[in-house]
């Protein structure tokens, strides 16, 4: 608590040279706010003013639901009957009540009600969940100014514009607020905007000077003020407004605005005035409507429905014209129908009328072509598939206790067709934790632990070499040499990994510098300087943990924290910061060097001896910006020596070295390259000593520049800073590993092998994003990076033109590239992206982006994320998947074809990604299994299921039509009504559902081992028009076979030894038996995975048919009608019945069988080969071969771990060849 008070007194604005120390607001004058778009007026502390128009603004109540109580029914019904098929079924159901229907009304209406009801119930449930969430948010409590300086709690939803609220530490802001004052005396507060842009580092907000006195409850007794500002808009990073207070007008800018859904951190409390409430707030303005998503297959199914509907119309028309013709010309002759005594329907004198009425009958009779049962089955299958996803134990995260969850079930198969993944960075790819891993000091590399990239490269090399060893086992000499490379690459052992240091942010291991051993190193003084730079050159604040007595550090960026932790471990513990000084507790001293010859025990002695606090007077701080890419502090140490300590990007530092400061440059550069190769983020450290006079001269100039007023002030400051950061002496370099979430690189690698493109959209800085790109192998050394940046110019057109030019140039460059291994990466930041997303540029931008192996967008707002997603989705026309964890990803998650939310530790927050997502997983790495296993399966299952469904209904429906032609187009069906009713309900539904639920072309392990198999989905090999038309053709063929073979076999002669001829029920039943057999055998041929369930369903369906026929025939003839005793008495004793069944079944399936045999032999698909390998158990017999084939089967990837490892191996091989120029010559000769 004491610490907190000290910090509260600290004027932190002192630290910020450029960003916060602005000239007084009065100097700039207020914004001239006129005209439309700037109409909002807020009367501070006078909420009564906002009770009525024109100042009555929206309440702070938020609602994210799609429907309300009254709109649910009409809206949801509209949504449902938006589907073509449902509309058709509705029409059919309406007609079925009329006497024209060949079926009973119930059989038409019941399934429709079921389908629509199920979908609507699902919608309602989802909306209810959202509603409950809203209630929770709306009833959160916040302290507001009641009256007379008294603060009281009220719920968020009751908050009004103009209210003064007090927000305490770690609370969320209830609305967009104007910051008045904070617990810090200079009105600074720290804000975490995780929910807005996904960044976890803290942002500083600063109150106006004039409102600083309002820092306790009582002072609001008489406070009034007036804010004039812009109207609600979605831009998070801008704000224009004026604040009228005490008859003066002050300009407001974004740094005074606290946005709803961001969180107050490290600050005891703040006071603020509510400006935007509820849906007016910026974060809500950023919210995009949650669209109802439909999968690609489902959308394509609509087209198939159109095709089938046309077919249906055609055959219905044929049928009705046929009927009209027959009625007009033939019917008068058919005396047995009494044509003279007819009603309208059969009246030969009104053929047109009978034709038209028959059309309706026919449309319903052939309705089997458009199966409503398909929709029922798909719903059922998808729910079951979703259950499997939810139940997958391998996607269950032990740490957070979250299983994977399919929150909507209608996108399962879409998971198998993803082409582009758009990923958030923080919290998704990374844990936002940096680990200090290696460093290079005075040209010597320290740090034994290996980055993940190095580990993998080593493993891959080892297995590769093993392979070669077998080939060249005779040549021992060579083997020895190969091991040489192995040795020089990485030396690791498993034990080291296990005993990894438990300190957060520190994975460094090297006994040469740990435990004070650095004192024994040759350049101990440089090493000490190095550690001091780490401990001093930063902007962090230490926080004492009372329990453990150790310090934790609050810093703007996590790598600074990592440096401080590292410095602490090395013995330079940053322990205190005051306005003007930094205190570092040093445990060792360079003077210990003199006594190092006495050995280890002396060092231990020294450790205690030198544990003292050193004070470094902080003279100036030149802070880090993404443009400067460096940070400098000027300090005076206890000896009075002035030191300039600088850290920054290597290129920047190397440019600013003095002549004698380049002693270690060569070695350091080499190390930096190695670090970069290993996916680490690097910074170079440098220093110089400064004379007193030299410093004061510079300082005067600097102070002068600081106080100048005018446009070129920033430029001047920069130039002066530049003067100081010159003639530096290089000390060394650091390598920090941005801690990725578990398994991320491997997952990205697998996804890349599966042929997926990965875009990273992050709110982070460009550098951070690039570093992450390296860490997770989206970027690698040798990749050509295309950075699109905006030139600073006022004219919008100029900027835009410039960006367009950059894009064109880059495209040109890619076109001209000859190297097949060349890969490009596109990096673009938010501001530039705003231009690139404009209508006339975006097409070029997209074309460029698609050609690049990886795309990284930095500093993007939530809205932009959604826009990029839309661009990719609509521009490429392929399936996109967005994955993220924070509220800033919600827009993108909603916009993408599939949204995946990371259900992290925070649990279910308001408006967070999980609530908006279609699937939620606990960690990024589960995405691999979700896509490659479940996605692949679900895609194939649904695709095959839908194809089969069309096949089966065509095969069945067309037989009805053919029979029409033989029945005078009268609308008579050859089958009993019950057969037709049960056809879709009982007799063919379960096998197809088991296909949709249980089918596996290859097992899940194989899916993961051969990610390339996934490409079958994005390439849509199983649901393209060839496939669909093929299946329809197969259906047509089957229908012809079934009908005509039966017709001819049972033509007119006796079908039994007892001389009876086949009547309509007998023929119909036989035909139906053939259909049941043929369709079920067909599905058995389609499946490749039979568990007992499939066996039960397929053979059970056939058995059920016979059972049904038996039981139905046993029932009283008043129920069974013509089917009475048909099986027992008529059909079963007749051999021809069984022979016909056998013949027709085989004949129906023969072409399909021939086709798949042919395909398997001559054009096998990937999974066929794998199945074959598995079938012959080659993988078990010959493990090594299996592994090798696996590595060969992967897609050639430009990004990902493997690509990087390949590059590394190429590089190492290059080295080897240089060393052993003759080694390769022997091998081909020997093996030939």
């Amino acid at each position: 608590m004491t610490q907190g008070r000290i910090r509260a007194r600290l004027r932190l604005s002192h630290l910020y040279t450029f960003a916060c120390t602005r000239p007084e607001a009065t100097e700039e004058g207020p914004h001239s706010i006129e005209g439309p778009g700037y109409s909002r007026i807020v009367h501070c502390n006078q909420p009564l003013m906002h009770k009525k128009k024109p100042f009555k603004y929206r309440s702070n109540y938020i609602s994210t639901t799609k429907y309300n109580f009254f709109t649910f029914l009409p809206k949801a019904l509209y949504e449902q009957f938006h589907r073509v098929a449902n509309l058709y079924f509705l029409a059919a159901a309406i007609v079925s009540v009329t006497p024209l229907s060949p079926f009973s009304a119930v059989s038409m209406i019941a399934p429709l009600v079921f389908v629509v009801g199920l979908s609507m119930a699902k919608e309602a449930l989802e909306d209810w969940r959202r509603f409950m969430q809203d209630i929770k948010v709306n009833s959160r409590k916040v302290k507001f100014h009641k009256e007379e300086g008294v603060f009281d709690y009220k719920s968020w939803k009751k908050l009004q514009v103009g209210d003064v609220v007090k927000v305490e530490k770690d609370q969320f802001f209830p609305a967009d607020l104007l910051l008045l004052s904070s617990s810090y005396e200079d009105g600074i507060c720290y804000v975490e905007t995780m929910n807005l842009d996904g960044e976890t580092n803290l942002k500083v907000k600063r109150a106006l000077e004039v409102t600083l006195p309002l820092d306790e409850d009582a002072s609001f007794k008489n406070f009034t003020g007036k804010i004039k500002c812009e109207d609600p808009n979605p831009s998070l990073y801008t704000f224009i407004g004026n604040f009228e207070y005490d008859h003066e007008v002050y300009a407001l800018d974004p740094s005074q605005i606290l946005l709803r859904d961001s969180k107050l951190r490290n600050t005891a409390f703040v006071y603020g005035v509510v400006i935007f409430t509820g849906h007016d707030s910026k974060v809500m303005q950023n919210a995009t409507k949650s669209p109802s998503k439909r999968s690609r297959i489902e959308r394509k199914m609509d087209y198939i429905i159109y095709v089938l509907f046309s077919l249906l119309l055609v055959i219905s028309l044929v049928s009705s014209i046929g009927f009209a013709v027959k009625t007009k010309f033939d019917m008068p002759d058919w005396w047995y129908l009494q044509p003279q005594n007819t009603d309208d329907y059969y009246d030969p004198r009104k053929p047109v009328l009978s034709g038209v009425t028959h059309l309706i009958t026919a449309l319903m009779l052939y309705g089997y072509l458009i199966p409503i049962s398909l929709y029922v089955s798909i719903e059922v299958v998808k729910v079951l598939q979703a259950t499997f996803i939810n139940q997958d134990i391998q996607m269950y995260d032990e740490e957070t206790g979250n299983p994977a969850q399919a929150r909507t079930s209608n996108l399962n198969e879409e998971l198998g067709q993803v082409d582009t993944i758009l990923s958030d960075k923080t919290g998704t790819l990374t844990c936002n934790q940096m680990d200090f891993l290696k460093c290079s000091i005075a040209g010597t590399a320290y740090g034994m632990s290996s980055s993940e990239v190095e580990l993998a490269a080593a493993q891959q090399m080892a297995s590769d070499l093993e392979d070669q060893d077998v080939e060249r086992s005779t040549d021992f000499r060579q083997k020895g040499k190969q091991q040489e490379i192995e040795l020089e690459t990485v030396v690791i052992s498993k034990d080291e990994m296990v005993h990894k240091s438990p300190i957060k942010g520190f994975s460094f291991e090297d006994s040469r510098v740990m435990e004070g051993n650095w004192l024994n190193e040759p350049n101990a003084d440089v090493i000490m300087l190095f550690f001091r730079i780490l401990a001093i050159c930063h902007t962090a604040v230490p926080e004492l943990n009372e329990e453990t007595g150790s310090y934790t550090y609050e810093s703007e960026s996590p790598d600074e924290a990592a440096f401080l932790v590292a410095a602490k471990e090395f013995g330079f513990e940053f322990c205190k910061r005051t306005q003007s000084s930094v205190f570092v507790r040093e445990r060792y001293s360079a003077s210990g060097q003199t006594i190092d010859r006495w050995g280890y025990q002396c060092t231990i002695f020294l450790k205690v001896l030198w544990a003292s606090c050193r004070e470094f007077k902080l003279l100036n701080m030149l802070e880090f910006t993404s443009k400067r890419k460096r940070m400098t502090v000027i300090v005076r140490d206890e000896d009075g020596q002035i030191l300039v300590l600088c850290k920054g990007a290597d290129s920047i530092i190397f440019d600013r070295l003095s002549k004698n400061g380049r002693l270690y440059e060569e070695d350091t550069t080499r190390h930096l390259n190695e670090y970069g190769e290993a996916g680490l983020r690097t910074l170079a450290l440098a220093y110089k000593r400064l004379g007193e006079s030299e410093y004061s001269a510079w300082n005067n100039e600097f102070q002068e520049a600081k106080t100048t007023i005018g446009a070129d002030r920033d430029l001047m400051l920069e130039n002066i800073a530049e003067m100081m950061e010159r003639d530096l002496i290089l000390v060394g370099a650091t390598a920090v590993e941005d801690k990725l979430q578990k398994g991320v690189p491997q997952c990205i690698d697998k996804l890349a092998q599966a042929g997926l493109k990965i875009w990273v959209l992050t709110g982070d800085k460009v550098e951070t994003a690039i570093n992450i790109g390296y860490a997770c192998s989206l970027l690698r050394q040798g990749m050509k990076q295309i950075c699109i940046t905006e030139i600073s110019s006022d004219a919008k057109e100029v900027v835009k033109e410039n960006i367009l030019l950059q894009i064109t140039n880059a495209s040109q460059m890619i076109k001209l590239e000859r190297d097949p291994h060349a890969a490009f990466a596109l990096i673009i930041d938010g501001k530039t992206l705003a231009y690139a997303l404009e209508d006339d540029v975006k097409q070029q931008f997209l074309v460029l982006a698609v050609q690049c192996a990886s795309v990284i967008c930095c500093r993007v707002s939530p809205k932009q994320k959604a826009l990029v997603t839309r661009l990719v989705k609509e521009g490429t026309g392929k399936t996109t998947l967005a994955i993220g964890d924070g509220a800033n990803d919600v827009g993108m998650i909603k916009e993408a074809d599939i949204g995946v939310g990371i259900s992290g530790v925070e649990g279910m927050q308001v408006g967070n990604a999980v609530m908006a997502s279609d699937f939620s997983i606990a960690q990024f790495r589960f995405l691999e299994r979700l896509l490659v296993v479940h996605g692949h399966w679900c895609y194939k299952r649904i695709a095959q299921m839908v194809c089969y469904f069309f096949y089966k209904n065509i095969a069945f429906g067309l037989t009805l039509f053919y029979f029409e032609a033989f029945a005078g187009f009268s609308g008579q069906s050859i089958y009993d009504d019950w057969y037709m009713l049960l056809f879709n309900v009982l007799l063919t539904s379960l096998p197809v559902i088991s296909l949709g639920v249980f089918e596996q072309d290859v097992s899940s392990e194989v899916c993961l081992q051969f990610p390339a198999v996934y490409q079958q989905g994005p390439k849509n090999l199983f649901f393209d028009w060839y496939k669909i038309l093929g299946w329809m053709g197969n259906g047509l063929y089957s229908s012809l076979i079934i009908f005509f073979l039966n017709i001819i076999i049972f033509y007119d002669q006796a079908f039994r030894e007892e001389g009876q001829t086949a009547s309509m029920p007998a023929l119909g039943t036989t035909m139906f038996t053939c259909i049941i057999w043929a369709l079920n055998c067909q599905i058995a041929f389609t499946m490749s995975h039979f568990t007992w369930i499939q066996h039960l369903f397929i053979w059970g369906s056939i058995a059920t048919w016979y059972l049904f026929l038996f039981v139905y025939g046993r029932l009283s003839p008043s129920i069974s009608g013509n089917a009475y005793q048909i099986l027992v008495e008529a059909l079963a004793p007749a051999p021809i019945y069984w022979l016909a069944t056998l013949l027709v079944t085989i004949a129906c399936n023969l072409p399909y069988l021939a086709h798949i045999s042919y395909q398997r032999c001559f054009h096998p698909l990937d999974h066929h080969i794998i199945q074959e390998i598995k079938y012959y158990k080659k993988d078990v017999e010959d493990q090594r071969m299996w592994t090798r084939e696996r590595s060969r089967a992967r897609e050639r990837t430009m990004i990902g771990f493997s690509a990087r490892v390949d590059a590394k191996i190429r590089q190492l091989k290059g080295k080897l060849q240089r060393k052993q120029p003759s080694s390769e010559i022997h091998s081909p000769a020997r093996s030939a």
Binding site: D333, W334, L337, T342, Y346, T387, F388, Q391, I393, Q394, Y396, E398, P403, G743, Q746, C747, R925, E928, F966, A967, S970, G971, F998, L1008, Q1009, I1048, I1049, Y1051, Q1053, A1054, F1055, R1056, E1057, G1059, T1061, M1064, H1089, F1090, T1091, S1116, P1117, Q1125, E1129, L1139, A1140, S1157, R1160, I1169, E1172, K1174, K1177, K1178, V1180, E1181, M1185, W1186, R1192, A1193, P1228, S1231
Partner: protein, 417 residues
């Protein structure tokens, strides 16, 4: 002990990869990065509530057989089909050939010469319709000989026709007035018709009598309908009533003193045929007929098929175990069987004889995997193969040679590119 072990081993070696049973569960391939089941048990129990329960079903790991169409299976399957089908085809063809059938079309011949151009007037007139036909038996016909009448172009399957009957009325005397479904032949003179409906009304009424050498051949008209129809669908207590009393005369009249269950002509007629061309059983002749027997048929040509140009035929036929004469089934079986034989043969040819395989473009993309694939088949089918490869894959080629011992003379290796 030693011995058996040895035998077992050689067995496996010789059988190399062709007939092992697939047990997917035993293959413990290394699980990939995503797998993490192993560590699951050690987890803290505090959050286990959400942890999915493990079962083979929910993890989609149920034991399954995964048959795949290997060449061996394909050829055997086609072969099997042809082996089964061809004999069946032959047998059914013989069965059909054994059936002796005499068909006599008489509808034109039985119209007097003067009415040849106006048959409808003739049939509707009150002229005598009797007609004599002579049938010659070509082959010996064993009893029972079935007598059929065959109509043509008669839509017994027309929806209006099919629906025009009342099953309940036929079955039970109590529902004699249930004629709602019988329109337009439901009521006559204000009284319900029994049996009502168009089907009954249009009952076939030609009659045949046969004599052989001036001796009457008895036509047995009992037992020509389905037993279940007689027992359960046509009531024993239902008698024809008010039948054919209307202004419009249809077909035959019924003896109103005989219950419907014994009116077998009606029962047969009421079983509507599926196609516009159909035969219906008229009766049985329980007597063998010898070749060259001349049968005199005396028939009453009453039924009007002239309105719709329908043919009428009288058919005498024996039956085999397959029923009447129809060669189609046998031919179809032979065709399908032959086709399968041809397919089996051509697949075999492809596997055994065809010296090289034209590779699709996709081969190049995946050829390393294929390289693996073909030798497998090689072991299974001993098929010579020419690898067509690009020059740059020479190393892979040499790998392949060594790994699968491709030096056997059966294999030619070619290079391309």
């Amino acid at each position: 002990m030693q011995d058996t072990k040895h035998v077992f081993q050689t067995d496996v070696m010789s059988d190399n990869g062709k007939a092992e049973k697939v047990d997917p569960m035993s293959s413990s391939t290394p699980s990939s990065s995503a797998g993490g089941v192993g560590s699951a048990d050690s987890a803290a129990p505090r959050r286990n509530s959400k942890r999915p329960k493990y079962s083979k079903f929910t993890q989609q790991e149920l034991p399954a057989c995964k048959p795949i169409l290997t060449p061996r299976w394909v050829i055997s399957a086609f072969m099997l089909v042809s082996i089964v089908f061809i004999p069946i085809g032959v047998v059914s063809l013989f069965a059909s050939r054994d059936v002796v059938e005499i068909i006599d079309r008489y509808e034109t011949a039985c119209v007097p010469d003067g009415y040849k151009n106006d048959k409808v007037t003739f049939i509707q007139s009150n002229l005598t319709k009797q007609c004599n036909r002579t049938l010659t038996v070509k082959k010996r016909m064993k009893k029972p000989i079935y007598v059929y009448y065959q109509l043509d172009n008669f839509y017994q399957n027309h929806r209006r026709y099919v629906k025009s009957r009342s099953d309940s009325q036929l079955k039970e005397n109590s529902s004699w007035d249930d004629v709602s479904s019988c329109k337009p032949e439901d009521m006559s003179n204000g009284q319900p018709i029994v049996p009502c409906g168009l089907i009954a009304w249009s009952l076939f009424n030609d009659t045949y009598s046969f004599s052989l050498n001036n001796q009457q051949l008895v036509v047995n008209k009992k037992g020509i309908s389905w037993k279940s129809d007689r027992d359960s669908k046509f009531g024993k207590d239902v008698f024809p009533k008010n039948f054919q009393n209307g202004t419009l005369k249809g077909g035959a009249t019924l003896n109103s003193s005989i219950p419907l269950s014994e009116q077998e002509d009606l029962i047969v007629w009421m079983r509507t045929a599926a196609l516009p061309t159909f035969r219906k059983l008229y009766g049985k002749i329980e007597q063998d007929l010898q070749p060259n027997d001349q049968i005199l048929v005396t028939l009453d040509n009453n039924y009007n098929t002239y309105s719709f140009n329908g043919k009428k035929k009288l058919v005498l036929s024996t039956t085999s175990w397959l029923g009447g004469k129809n060669d189609f089934l046998g031919i179809a079986y032979l065709t399908v069987g032959g086709l399968c034989f041809f397919l089996a043969l051509s697949f075999t040819v492809v596997y055994l004889v065809k010296p090289s395989i034209v590779l699709s473009p996709s081969f190049k993309q995946h050829f390393q995997v294929y390289l693996f694939f073909f030798p497998l088949n090689l072991k299974a089918t001993r098929r010579p193969i020419v690898f067509v490869m690009e020059q740059k894959s020479r190393r892979t080629l040499s790998n392949a040679r060594r790994t699968w011992n491709l030096s056997s003379p059966m294999v030619t290796v070619g290079l391309m590119g």
